[in-house]
């Protein structure tokens, strides 16, 4: 177990290196110059050159990456060129918002997807199954921002039940905070459930053909126990994988949802950093997201072992 954990952590390093290097390269390809952006169009070339030298922007890219990496290895993620805010402070201030959105959204999507998948698997081939798989397919082809805008129109503009924007810190007013998360989380859940439902449905259909399900029926177990204990557990490996990938992605914030609903999360930080050519913030966020992704994948691997004892013992 410890060996497995150690191997995983070792695997994390090259991933993080590759991801940050790629971000550095791509970011440096962005048109426009940070010094000019900060000083404005009217600045003299001398002033711009001076600022570039001060920020190290005149150095070759590999040197700049080296300096940044050296800082990271010493626990210094750097600070924003523009606001002077440290990366650490910027990320930790916005992380709770993205995490709250992610948790509510993912739970909601599972709550929709799992019962529907079980229902469709049991009734596979019937009109009911075709209706819900068709619905899921239709939803898959509907973009996220459309759902967001439709939800805002219906619940915020027409019915005036929920706020479309206006995030409130949890500490200030927990209820208002939760209310401000309902529409964004529902939008997220709407995007996630069709995929989850479809993978679980097809795995479940395969599992229901297994001998051990016939055996469970022959033992005279109640249908609920057969479905929820005998069939759901061995069918949920793909579901866990897909949900894990989605969670990993959502750690980086849901860019579109956060932007539309004006939630101050990681996604908005990232978008802001790109617009402002704030490389250090951008690098920091990417590093953080990549690490989060790897950690989530690690947890997913652990979950496999929890769900399937054969994996557990294969590694022991």
């Amino acid at each position: 177990m410890a060996k497995f954990l150690g191997r995983r952590l070792l695997y994390l390093l090259p991933v993080l290196l590759a991801v940050t290097l790629l971000t550095f390269l791509v970011a440096s390809l962005l048109p426009g110059d940070l010094a000019t952006t900060i000083l404005g169009d009217q600045a003299t070339p001398e002033k711009v050159a001076a600022l570039r030298a001060e920020m190290g922007l005149d150095l070759p890219i590999w040197q700049r990456y080296g300096i940044w990496l050296w800082g990271v290895l010493h626990g210094d993620l750097g600070r924003s060129f523009r606001t002077g805010e440290t990366v650490w402070a910027a990320v930790t201030a916005r992380l709770p918002v993205s995490l709250e959105l992610m948790v509510i959204g993912v739970v909601l999507s599972l709550v929709i997807a799992i019962p529907l998948a079980i229902l469709c698997a049991v009734k596979s081939g019937t009109a009911l199954d075709r209706f819900f798989t068709g619905l899921a397919f239709g939803k898959l082809s509907l973009p996220n921002y459309m759902v967001a805008i439709l939800l805002i129109y219906l619940f915020a503009v027409e019915l005036n039940w929920l706020p479309a924007t206006g995030w409130v810190p949890f500490a200030e007013d927990p209820l208002a905070n939760l209310r401000s998360f309902i529409l964004p989380a529902v939008t997220l859940a709407f995007a996630e459930w069709p995929v989850l439902m479809r993978v679980l449905r097809s795995d479940m259909i395969a599992t229901l053909q297994e001998d051990y399900i016939a055996m469970a029926k022959a033992k005279g177990l109640r249908p609920a126990r057969i479905l929820l204990v005998h069939a759901l557990k061995p069918s949920s490996l793909t579901l866990v994988t897909v949900a894990g990938i989605n969670i990993g992605r959502l750690i980086g914030g849901a860019l579109i949802v956060e932007t539309i609903f004006a939630l101050p999360g990681i996604g908005r930080l990232l978008v802001g950093a790109i617009y402002a050519r704030d490389f250090i913030i951008l690098q920091g966020v990417v590093l953080f997201v990549a690490a989060g992704f790897v950690v989530v994948n690690f947890i997913v691997d652990m979950l496999y072992a929890v769900l399937d004892p054969r994996i557990r013992h294969g590694r022991a």
Binding site: D211, A214, M215, K217, A218, G220, V229, H230, P234, P309
Partner: protein, 322 residues
Amino acid sequence: MSAPLLSVEGITVDLPTPRGPLRAVDGVDLTLAPGSTLGIVGESGCGKTMLSRAILQLLPKRAKLGGRIMFAGRDLVTLQPEELRRLRGPELAVVFQDPMTSLNPVLTIGTQIVETLQAHLGMDTVTAMRRGVELLAAVGIPAPEQRLRQYPHQLSGGMRQRVAIAIALSCEPKLLIADEPTTALDVTVQAQILDLLAREQQRRHMAMILITHDLGVVAGRTDEVAVMYAGRVVERAPTPKLFTRMRMPYTEALLAAIPKLDSPPHTPLPAIAGRPPDQTRPLKGCSFEPRCRYADDHCRSAKPPLADPERAGGLFACWHPL
């Protein structure tokens, strides 16, 4: 003979295929007295497994079932799902062919035994666990307390089949259907498992249907044997009678295909030439006719009924009995 425990009347099973419906079971009648053993023998695809699934009401969803299956006074075909559920376990149990796939890989042996006891006998977990240990010990599993906490993949094939038998026996069923219970096991383990089944059957006065493709398996262990071919029973007789005087050429061919220990090395093994008929295109005459060395025109034009024309105590479906 007492009132039958199981009486199967005119069972048909049709499976949809791209080439039209396939009649997997074609009008089978069987009766089984309490405590007795019936062997069902036939080669792969003869419908023996479909017949057992029909009795268990575990046919694939697409399959169409006809006929009546009277079990302890109830027709299983028309039984409500909840009534059927209560029946399975305490009255009707099954041991499947492959213990590698019939136990749930993600649940412990203990869970899989205990849940059955709890579902039918209303035991609390501690009592059920204790009963589980007794059951595992009864089927010859060493260190049963430890096994309860293990998963199926940690046990050998023979041990898994013993677990499956323990589960099947857990609620003291009146009828056990063993569908090729030893086919997936090592030869050395096969006899042990068959002996175990026979012993438990005696002890519990339980009826058993033993399904196999091996005439040797049913020889010493059954009261009656039904030989199936192409979805029909082609010969049915008390076991001693069948082996002393078989009437159906197919049964003879099956028996000839068993390797004999006393034949000299390199003796060619007699095989039944040809293949079973395509059951989506039923033959007009006897379904064994294309492979039968006694066949004539009469066999091609008329299907022989399963009957006992000589009142000798054995049924057979053949125009030219041996």
